[in-house]
């Protein structure tokens, strides 16, 4: 039993040790989409942390020199062997606040207990400014709405929410600012809880306030009452379609410690405020003079550039088209260039958007990888985007002139389908663009997803094990029952057992173990007698046994010989010292002869006797 237990324990320890948690490990890396920006310029910081086999906290770097415009965190985990691997990606849009050279980092993952891992360190250079004369990007609150208007609010002397839209009749695609203000008679005691946002369905929006800011109050007098005014939301909204568009009513709860609170009105009960919906009547773009295609509303300039004007056939060039200006930059679409003999791969698109002075502006850059497949001169472009200026109410076309590309050399090999890797990452993955693909080119196009479990035979085979055990149990029970029910088989088994005991006795004799030898001989004789008589004989004295044998029809001579042999065995077991091998051999011979006679003995029934 001991070796069995120790083996089992050893195996379980191996299993346990392999399953036990490994020491936590991980790595953290920072990257930015650009290292040089102007004051007010926006760049993206990405921190990717991977932690294996433990819990850790990610500590972003000190970002005091930048405004954090947005922050997204994506996390997930997966098991690798017995180790849980957690991955966390934090992406932040940062706005440079002041010129200078800044060091970002390191970011750190902290496992607790003083164990940390640091990331790389990044250098960011911030230049003088976006444009001369333009106000630097500000995270401050917008101007307050005029006091003489009562639009966008349901006046309440205790406090109310006000939704203000800078232009109630904008054109489709024109920027309007939507601001939600909180008017209170006294200062805020705690952060207000917005229970329902002002919905902006039907608009493309961009937040104009940094996510981390303090709620500063300004004062405004309405209906001869002075209110503390807090700016809660301030977004640039671009209507996507003409017609009446509604900005939903916000709702919130505040704890006001002003006059209302002092007078005991409401006590600790929060003040629940409901705003009012605001309708914006969006005008369609004028049809007169409207150019074909998607029209950008705002200002725009388009430039284009080829990294090389002359290439060998089959070599790739990069075409860059940059659309820069004011408005919903991310909505701009520039069609891919095409020409017979040119293979144009899908573009990489990168957007940079900022909100200096509350105006959404930036650039959208398209980069195409172009491969001439035949020698010749190709014209790329011109690249045009129709623009509508809502202030001047007129259309223009922002145009980048056509570019010429000359390809020299022999025609490239047959235009095979480009390799996916080549297509997906023409110039390396952009740090600010999600990386998807390449797609798989081969597929079995399977039409069945049935697994082994879904097959009928599987369940049959799974049931086979328990069935086998059940049958085994039944078979064993049947065998036992059959053995106990069939007395005729008992002598046969006893004879077999006796032969086995005689063999053991012979081994004992050869080994010089007389006690064991005589014990085996006695047991062999008793087993056979027991089986023949069908009753136990172990507890009988020798005279009782002799009487029983005679009573059951055994010849007296044989009965006497059997009993004498048993007596001899008992005697020899207790005085085994000095027993010779020859004596044991003779005893063995006698026992064999007796067993042969007993085989022929058929006892009479007990009642007959």
């Amino acid at each position: 039993m001991k070796p069995r237990l120790s083996i089992a324990i050893a195996l379980l320890s191996i299993l346990a040790s392999s399953a036990s948690a490994q020491a936590p490990d991980g790595e953290v890396e920072m990257s930015v989409d650009r290292n040089q920006v102007e004051v007010g310029g926006i760049f993206q910081l990405r921190i990717t942390a991977t932690v294996q086999g433990g819990q850790a906290q990610l500590q972003p770097p000190d970002l005091a020199a930048f405004d954090v415009l947005s922050r997204s965190v994506s996390s997930g985990s997966v098991m690798r062997g017995f180790t849980r691997e957690s991955r966390l990606t934090q992406t932040m849009q940062l706005r440079a606040r002041q010129p200078g050279a800044f060091q970002l980092g390191p970011a750190r993952i902290d496992f607790g207990g003083g164990t940390t891992i640091d990331s790389n360190v990044l250098q960011i250079t911030v230049g003088g400014g976006i444009q001369a004369g333009q106000p630097a990007a500000q995270g401050g609150a917008p101007d307050l709405p005029p006091a003489h208007h009562a639009d966008g609010m349901a006046f309440d002397p205790r406090g109310f929410l006000r939704t203000w839209v800078t232009d109630a009749e904008p054109y489709v695609g024109q920027q309007v600012d939507v601001t939600v203000y909180l008017y209170l008679r006294g200062p805020l005691r705690a952060s207000p809880a917005i229970t329902r946002e002002a919905t902006t369905d039907g608009f493309w929006t961009r937040d104009l306030l940094p996510p981390s800011r303090s709620l500063d109050a300004r004062t405004q007098t309405l209906q001869n009452m002075t209110f503390q005014v807090y700016t809660l939301r301030h977004v640039a909204a671009f209507p996507l379609q003409a017609g009446e568009q509604t900005i939903g009513a916000p709702a919130m709860e505040v704890r006001n410690s002003g006059l209302w609170g002092l007078l005991g009105g409401g006590g600790n009960e929060p003040l629940r405020l409901e705003g009012v919906p605001v309708t914006v009547n969006v005008r369609p773009l004028p049809s007169e003079g409207r150019p074909d295609g998607d029209v950008h509303v705002g200002e725009l300039t388009v430039t284009s550039e080829l990294d090389r004007a002359q290439v060998g056939t089959g070599d790739a060039v990069t075409l860059t088209v940059r659309a820069e200006g004011r408005g919903a930059i991310e909505q701009i679409r520039i069609p891919s260039p095409s020409a017979d003999g040119l293979r144009v791969l899908q573009p990489e698109i990168r957007d940079t958007v900022s909100t200096p002075g509350g105006v959404v502006r930036g650039d959208r850059v398209y980069r195409w990888l172009i491969v001439p497949e035949r020698p010749g001169t190709y014209t790329l472009g011109p690249f045009e985007v129709p623009v509508f200026d809502p202030e001047a109410e007129r259309y223009t076309v922002a145009r980048a002139p056509a570019l010429t590309l000359t390809a020299a050399g022999n025609a490239a090999a047959a235009a095979a389908e480009p390799e996916p890797a080549e297509l997906e990452a023409p110039s390396g993955p952009a740090p600010d663009a999600p990386s998807f693909g390449p797609i798989h080119r081969e597929s079995e196009l399977t039409r069945s997803y049935a697994t082994m479990v879904d097959r009928g035979w599987y369940r049959g085979l799974l049931a086979l094990g328990p069935l086998m055990l059940l049958l085994g149990l039944v078979a064993r029970a049947w065998r036992r029952r059959a053995a106990s029910d069939d007395p005729a088989r008992a002598p046969r088994r006893a004879r077999k057992a006796a032969r086995k005991r005689l063999a053991e006795a012979q081994a004992h004799a050869a080994g010089g173990e007389p006690r064991a030898f005589y014990a085996a001989i006695g047991a062999a004789l008793k087993d056979v007698l027991q089986a023949r008589l069908g009753q136990p004989v172990g507890s009988l004295t020798h005279p009782e046994l002799s009487a029983l044998l005679t009573r059951r029809g055994m010849e007296p001579e044989l009965a006497r010989a059997v009993v004498e042999e048993l007596e001899g065995c008992d005697f020899a077991r207790f005085s085994a010292a000095g027993v010779e091998r020859a004596e044991m051999d003779e005893c063995l011979t006698r026992a064999r002869a007796l067993l042969a006679k007993l085989d022929r003995f058929t006892p009479t029934a007990e009642d007959e006797a």
């Binding site: 070796p3 069995r4 083996i7 089992a8 195996l11 299993l15 415009l69 947005s70 922050r71 997204s72 965190v73 994506s74 996390s75 997930g76 985990s77 997966v78 098991m79 690798r80 991955r87 990606t89 992406t91 849009q93 369905d201 929006t205 937040d207 940094p210 996510p211 891919s336 791969l345 899908q346 573009p347 389908e417 999600p434 990386s435 998807f436 693909g437 797609i439 798989h440 080119r441 597929s443 079995e444 196009l445 399977t446 039409r447 997803y449 697994t451 082994m452 479990v453 085979l461 799974l462 086979l464 094990g465 328990p466 086998m468 055990l469 049958l471 085994g472 149990l473 078979a475 064993r476």
Partner: protein, 261 residues
Amino acid sequence: MRRSLLVLALLALPLTARADSLEEIWDRANHAYFQGDHDGAADGYRELLALGVVDPDVAFNLATAEARRGRYGAAIQYFEQALWLRPGDEDARAGLEAARAAVGARRANAQGEAEVAEEPPLGEALFGGTSRDLLALLTLLSSLGLFGALTALLFVRRESVRLGLGIAAPLVGIVLLVSGAGMVIRNGWLEEGDPGVVLQERVPLREGPEAEASERHVAREGQRAWILDDGEDGWVLVRVPSVGEGWAEASRIGPVRPSGR
């Protein structure tokens, strides 16, 4: 002989024709993708699904095309489907992470801050990367091994063999327990419903299966939604973890598993 060959040829004909047709659609969709026509590519892959194709590569390509179109909810749906069909597919895993990050970035762009977390339950994390066939095979073999050992113990008399069987049986039993648990988890036999993904940025979860029913919660694009009840008239009852339960338009919730699962 000639007659039997003719019969064989006739039997094989529809299969060949079908295979060619699927291949054509596959090639067409891939070609559209390579041309930058992600809409056309997605349409092609969806056509394959409509024709009954249940294939991890098709699901992966569809997810990638949807991601390129900026439809990250659908991308997450099909990346998850690709992983369900072929656990451990690193491409699909990477795509899924990128799609979730993209949803977060887009939301952060609009709202300033966003968090997209996907922490699978321990069971799913443990067995999510293991193929269902492998788990089924392990369960089958360990079941046969365990019950075989127990059955042998009933009859074997030799002590050394009995010792070996006595050690092997509990170890095989542990394997059976673990693989059986994995099989149950991977096949979703204990799940409260079918897994799905919220396909749009703002999906109201309503009190009842009708547009007029009041809004109970709002689910966000890319979130996991458990489809509890396939209601009628295009509505499904879903539970979105950490959000709540309610009725949503079926078209806004994408099932992760191929239809019928």
